[in-house]
Symmetry: D3
């Protein structure tokens, strides 16, 4: 396990030595004004990113061969430059396998992934519609899909942007849908849950998360909506006798789940289940983003009277932590 995380360095004394395992997100060769070569690195772990400078790349304590994507162990000190932290790297070597958990290097869900996965399969198991149950069972039994589903983040930045975040978001949404369903008897439970389980399935191909979170070129040109529809349609077409009307409805739910044309859904929700899906998905993403901002404020030591930073997922609005503000008001 890592001892020091990038987020910890904010409160670190400048100049004090420390060791840490990091993922190399970028590596560039440069020269100083006095024409001396040095290395500029972007180092990352699950708590953030940090610029690193190797002023003496020929020092024998600096490994010669390491590349973008490698995990390294660095020793050095932090300094602050124009309010950004920078690490002066004195020693650097590639990490041994198993010396560090990859989950420490990219942000990851704090939930237990096997438990989440079991919960998700439990929802499928509760289906009464045999066609939809077979569809989900088939897709989730595909090793490539199920492996990626457990790892994928649902976004590069906005909400649940961490390893396992997609799984966490979907299980949260299934639970939410099951709570909301009794209020609206016109909703078909199996169809709504199918939409929840598959709406972001294209993310497993849209994003790559080996070295940081990036969109693949295919993801950029086609998008996770199209990729998810294609994946689902292929599976459906491989099942004998899947009802064609049901196929249309399942694909429509994936296509329309962003709820608005300008958010990249080529069709607006035209069935009640699709409308409910787009609302619940949006609500869950926003509530998670708010929770994330509140946690960040606490980490950064902001007072109860201060608003959060501008929240991207809420159109750059700032929020107030109700419970903290009320709590303080009582004292």
């Amino acid at each position: 396990m890592k001892d020091i995380y990038i987020a910890d360095l904010a409160n670190f004394d400048e100049g004090k030595l420390f060791d840490g395992f990091f993922l190399v997100l970028a590596k560039q060769q440069r020269t100083t004004k006095s024409n001396k070569p040095y290395l500029n690195l972007i180092l990352g772990d699950k708590t953030g990113q940090l610029e690193g400078r190797v002023w003496e790349p020929s020092d024998p304590r600096i490994a010669k061969e390491f590349e973008r994507g490698d995990i390294v162990k660095d020793r050095g000190s932090a300094s602050r430059f124009d309010d950004r932290l920078q690490m002066k790297v004195d020693q650097l070597r590639k990490a041994q396998p198993n010396e560090v958990d990859k989950a420490d290097l990219l942000p990851a869900t704090t939930y237990d992934v096997p438990t989440l996965w079991k919960q998700l399969l439990g929802f499928v198991d509760s289906f009464t519609n045999p066609d939809l149950k077979l569809l989900l069972t088939t897709m989730l039994a595909d090793p490539a899909i199920s492996h990626a589903y457990r790892e994928a983040p649902p976004a590069k930045q906005l909400h649940h942007a961490w390893l396992g975040g997609l799984l966490e978001h979907v299980v949260s949404l299934c639970t939410l849908a099951d709570r909301v369903l009794p209020s609206y008897p016109l909703l078909d439970r199996d169809l709504l849950l199918t939409g929840v389980l598959l709406h972001d399935i294209g993310k497993v191909r849209e994003l790559s998360w080996e070295i940081g979170f990036e969109y693949t070129i295919e993801g950029t040109l086609l998008g996770h909506i199209q990729m998810g529809v294609a994946l689902t349609e292929q599976t459906i077409d491989s099942l004998p006798n899947f009802p064609p009307r049901l196929k249309t409805l399942v694909l429509h739910m994936i296509l329309s789940h962003h709820g608005k044309l300008e958010f990249g859904s080529p069709k607006l929700p035209m069935i009640p289940e699709a409308l409910a899906l787009s609302f619940l998905d949006d609500l869950d993403a926003k509530m998670q983003a708010i929770q994330g901002e509140f946690d960040k404020c606490l980490r950064e030591g902001k007072s109860a009277d201060e608003l959060t930073g501008k929240v991207w997922a809420l159109d750059q609005r700032q929020l107030l932590n109700t419970k903290r503000w009320l709590g303080e008001g009582k004292e």
Copy 2:
């Protein structure tokens, strides 16, 4: 009880005689091309509106004194003109008190109002925050408010546009909120439910529903958001020691519940409870509008393959009744 409702006339043979109790929504004196005076009426009941023509206003079987707002009993026959129904009125007299239930003349909730009211008070009773509990108890104990709350429609046209519709909508939302709350521990239950209970309280003054549903001039110039905030603020100010921060939050929830400036909220939701309220309110309104459209299609005998009409609350989108369409696909 009424025997014949306006909605029934759609399938009525032209020319066949019938009797009915109606509310007079408008009354105008006119003359025919041949210079003969006649009366043009708009008649309404809980199922719709109908134009009525009294071609012989001097006939002794036509009451002389009746006005807009009166309940009348008419005898006559229906005819179709350019696809709109019209009633030729042969006899007309003012109804006796108790001859007809006013609830038959304006559309009204199909739920039992005392039961709904009890459910609503039950939510207040479950509060743990004493200040919010006192606020709600005080407001709902005001006879003027509690009487109007039980009758008011929450809109002139869009969703729940019927007597008791506000109460029905609020109870539905309380239930929904209680179902959603376990998913988001950051939400303060009492504050969220307070928002649900008070968000549309200004409707009791914005709309009048004596004769059809109309906006009052005050309602038009100030709006139910401002009226609801004022009503709430007055009550709070009458309570000794209501915490000022809590007052700010309660008012903010009413102010921001439309969720967007262009929908008439002068402030966007800036606390998690306000965000959740705007989502759930919007979802509930839309789901009710969809259910209403599906019911209307059934009444009108549309086939399972036909989309609904354009739904105002969904930006004029047309919807498909999933369950009917799938059901038919199976046969």
Copy 3:
């Protein structure tokens, strides 16, 4: 061949008898004010639509058994009601097979379809990229696709809204693309032409054109963009060794060809060929709409000084026929 077309009736004397073959687009039973049953019909041919009234449905000269979708021969006279034409139908019988050409009943391209088809295949034949050539050859060799491609209209109303209109539009666009290509050497000709040939392929499933032009339920819920992508992807996946990058680009062109998210493209054009396709497609549709409006003005006898009606495809703008206006100015 038909003798009289609906468009001809505009200049017809009211009351004068005529015969005509029409497609029955709708049929409803109604009763008059005096309680007499009659039939209300919507009759169509390739030049327009007309309301028909059968006042004596029990007349032996009126066929008992005919339905929506049947072709009938009617005898009757036209009358004008509030500026709309109406036909009083005196006689009506179902048409014999071959008595009338279906092409006379739905608007159809004025070009020779086999010639257009040959031109289209000629473009495919000129490809130098073997993968794209094989893809197109395979798709166009599928009898279901090629038959539909030759018949489909590309829109219900806007532009080229006639049988064979899709084929006409695509051949026109291929020719245009070939003319523009020398100006921009950065464009890959085969990829651009592939986009032209496939961008609207989903229309063969989005629309039905048996009885008038209608959207299918599947078309309404999924849209021709998604349907075209799916059709293309299935064919590509059936070809061994189709390059995966090329697949991404072909699908991207179909996905993005509407050029804007709010026009239903879930992705904006991100390669030069996709950008060019969206421009040329839009230009061709608009130029055709203008030509259609100019033709209509001539048919309706408008003077050279009058603007056209409001053109839907040009945001309700009105246009001026330059050549006519200048020509008249010279006299």
Copy 4:
């Protein structure tokens, strides 16, 4: 009185010593790369802000105890870093009471406040409607309101953003309204002036201006429109027999004065006085912003041929000083 203002430093030689009184807007402890602690300050006066660095915080000439909100006397020199000015602080002590005028530390109106206040009361005195006169007299007689009214800035940044700016803006608007009124006899003078006097009254609670200009949390969650409506409604409700219709109109004017929903007015102007108010308020704010930009250009020594910087209140447009440009053209 202060000798040196922050705005003067732009033309100051780097390194030259100077003394000055400043308000401490922020104070942070930091360390240099070589691990030496220093203080980073934000210093302000009525002409602007300046970053200050105390490199030797333990120097006996540097006061130990001073906080955000204190007024201090600093000695040091200016330097330019990446085009921003920075002050190197050599000596620092807390200012004695009365050593400096607070009006020198926050930007303030250049008009005489008692004179402005008298002008404002003069407008009230000229009312002929006794109810409106009583309303205004009552509100302005409230010491808390009248004191704040004389100090409040009407905005944090945009226009009249200085102490007394609200009063200055309102007197300017009253004068303007009185000039415009003869052009539109349909306008009720007393009602329009009431709107002018009260439209921004909520600002006295929305903003705090003790230490710089900031929004209060209540102001952020409720906004000055709601706060002004509440303040006015409370006063009206305390007056016996204030006409209810007049109350509705006064509140409507405050509610609608931003003129557009997207600017935070929950209602659009629906009476002529409200429309006129929204126009004149907007015009006055923009003209003041332009005057402010022209003054800034002169201070910064820009030539007559240069446009101003981008003006926030005019959608980032740049403006030309007509008179200067024409004047120069004549030479």
Copy 5:
């Protein structure tokens, strides 16, 4: 003078005979269902428009030769059809010259045109800038311009849509500008008044008002902004030594006076005079539209409690007549 105006007919008994002079705005030959020819006319006078039907065109009392644009005297009776008035024309002859004042046939200003013109010249006379004075004097001395300026309406429909309306609007704006100028010393009076006097000068060519108010083809393709700039530029270029900078500013004011790109101004106001012009022009147009709506409500007998119809110039908003509503509240 005319005895009966179209607006009077609203309260007219159906069937009662009357005579009137009207302008023929349209004339069409049609046939009845029974194949009988009749004439359909659009008749207009300064108070509105009316459909006329000549059922017996061969009646000797109906003139044979009259065309669109002729003034006729009609005798007949009014009838109401689906709430629109229609005139049954029994007799019709062309009017004698001088039998009717053309000002009675198109809506016209109620002010005295020579007086307005004198006021306008008075403003020019008060200029101190000799170049601007010469420019205005020259333009207004051109007989074609000065004649048209006195007649032109400034719009086809929206505001001041009557003969002499442009002149009335400009004089009103000059007066308003002179009232506002003392509030903003940064404004150059002569330049602002020049903008007021010339901003709509292009209307004299954009519209034709011989037979109703219509846009010319040139007006439709170029617009009054461009036409006004061209007219002004030609005059300026004909004056020796007009300062080039002043020319730029004058043209900029005309170009930018609509205040927004989407309203057809190709440039936004970038000088204070242009900004003031766009505000005052907009305010004056809206206040006049409101006054017009209030007058219409009085004419139509609407009660003080009713809102106006939807006002085009105010984005379809409805307004309340403050003074009437307050007045009624007092009784």
Copy 6:
């Protein structure tokens, strides 16, 4: 010819000496922290801009007299500061006439200007409409216009932003128009080409390009559309017997060529030639911007898998170089 261009310095070793000719785009006097005066320069050539620092302005090797707009020869070394390049200038003298080609100092077309000009005249020569031919011949024969036309850039930044860029863009558009014309017989070739040749003619006055590319004040206040219309109208008015309708159409094409009001066209295209012009102009600008971005990526050594930077002319979209990406995929 210059030896070293600013773009070359990106790969230059820090500290290494070099010589170069540059245009002085800005010159400022400053002082260091230690109160030493130095000069800050912005130097430019056709490949970019560079900040220069003269730390010893009194060094005899530094010229005393040089100003903004001068061409200088500098000797010094490059250094990198926070990723921006800076030049330390050791020697500086004004360049001799003819020592450097001005075309090396501002970006310029890579085509041969006399050849482009000849092509442009060839298009005019091919006109069959004598009026349009005379118009163009007259305008292009004006030495001021023809000289500026050959030099002007069509934009400060977006597309073809280089000397001769306007000419290059227009010739490219003429060629494109000629290719597209056979597809749309309704287009008048001479009118369309006239629009192409004149649409941006106002740029010769809107921009100045002596020292960098800047908008003139007149250009900023009036815009190239208005300036181009005025220039064209003056020429037309000087020609005897130019048909007035043709004049209207030519001016309309210039006015409407931006295609949207919000892009500064005061009229939307209302004739087919204007619509075609706005499409082709937009397509050509975008294709050139894409080509420019692809070239830049190659220069900067980006891999085939990387998207371009955000392209201003394409709403900040990033693009993929199809041919490179496919090419790499094949290896």
